[in-house]
Symmetry: C2
Subunit: 225 residues, 2 copies
DNA sequence: CGCATAAGTTTGACGACTCAAACTCTAGGT
DNA sequence: ACCTAGAGTTTGAGTCGTCAAACTTATGCG
């Protein structure tokens, strides 16, 4: 609304980088990379965010959103994830393509349309990738979950979230029957090869590297084997 | 896609102005007014359209879309009207608010989302205002209809299209039970006062000026009175 | 006919966003 | 402690879309 589309993109990128960073701040280089822009462009844009009291930054230091900037970022994230949910649940698009679509649509959704969409979808708490959808008031409940790589052989679990959202990762998981909500069991672990063998309920066994498995979050289920 | 959001807006505006103009061309002043921009801005923008072979224009003359420009305009119109249909049919928004929402969303809809939307809506031929939705190939079938003002006293008809799409007109019509698809009967005509009295099926009698009625299109039904 | 007025055009400027390239700072390794 | 490679910043310039204001053209009224 008030912020330009570009500013919205910067806010969302900084929010996500900050969330994943150890020091709880986003580096200028990563901001630039996330937005596909040169470092100089990012620097001058951040200067604008600071002037608008959306972020804090000192020369050669990291970037951190203010409360106001965080609120704005959560609003954009809410739009993004609700749109993704709509594209998958209502229109039936594949979860590997919806991110790019939402990246554009998120900027064109008014509060009225957003609320109608939210109601239509049944006020979902999670998007198709298992990412939590910020509520209208900015509340964000992360789901309790552990990396699939930490499961032991024979453990059963439910897939709750996918962190690696590159298209080919998502297509591999879908093709394997590994979607959010699916239950699965660890068939075997080969620590030497760095590979786990997983059997999704009702599917056939698939092999994944433990690094790939670490980016799939699960919740262990009552194991009755 | 290729055209910028601004260019898309110009193309759509010129298409609609051209369609409604006697000389089948859009004047620079009306283009500027339609886009809320100064005449100088419109002039320079049209120059760009001409350079892109999307329009033709000679100094101090009217503006006319080329075949290429018309095709592009119809594509945008298709996105606009499908989005409006979605907002009303799927999300339940009022027909008086969807135009402004669609005005922004139309630029963020990819071919893939557009087709999924079209399928989800059952490939509708008309939008909530009765305006025809251009097909993917650019075909556009106008519906056979006459102005309600030309009905005689006692005539029955079905409302098929609303030309005046200002918010208060649309809200008046909806509040009166006059929506697309509704059947109605002319109760009385007062030529002196310039007023018609209409009874929508299952509603109560409303008065409308004949000029307002002229902007409501109907198809007469088997009159069995 | 002639000209005042409306319509359209041109010009110069600006804000938003971007890049390339020159520059400056920081931090880690010797 | 120093130096340097990498990270960050600044500068100058360009594109896009816009406005205000000066200017030009067409035309219809007297
Ligand atoms: Mn975006
Ligand atoms: Mn997502
Ligand atoms: Mn538009
Ligand atoms: Mn419409």
């Amino acid at each position: 609304m008030l912020a330009t589309e570009t500013v919205e993109n910067y806010l969302k990128a900084i929010y996500l980088l900050q969330r994943d960073a150890a020091a709880d701040e986003a580096s200028m280089g990563k901001i630039a990379a996330a937005l596909g822009v040169t470092a100089g462009t990012a620097t001058s844009m951040v200067k604008k965010l600071v002037a608008a009291r959306l972020a804090r930054h000192e020369r050669f230091g990291g970037v951190r959103l203010t409360t106001k900037g965080t609120r704005a970022a959560l609003d954009i994230l809410r739009r993004h994830r609700l749109v993704e949910t709509f594209l998958v649940d209502t229109l039936g698009l594949d979860w590997s393509v919806v991110h790019d679509e939402a990246e554009r649509l998120e900027h064109a959704i008014s509060p009225m349309v957003l609320d109608a969409l939210d109601r239509h979808l049944g006020r979902p708490a999670f998007d198709p990738h298992g990412d939590p959808i910020p509520r209208a008031d900015g509340a964000l409940q992360e789901s309790e979950a552990m990396p699939m790589s930490e499961l032991g052989s024979g453990d059963a679990a439910r897939l709750v979230r996918v962190l690696d959202q590159r298209g080919d990762s998502l297509r591999f998981l879908r093709a394997s029957g590994l979607k959010v909500g699916a239950t699965l069991r660890v068939v075997a672990i080969e620590p030497g090869a760095g590979v786990m063998r997983i059997r999704p309920d009702g599917g056939s066994i698939v092999s994944m590297s433990t690094t790939a498995a670490a980016r799939v979050l699960v919740r262990p289920t009552r194991s009755r084997h």
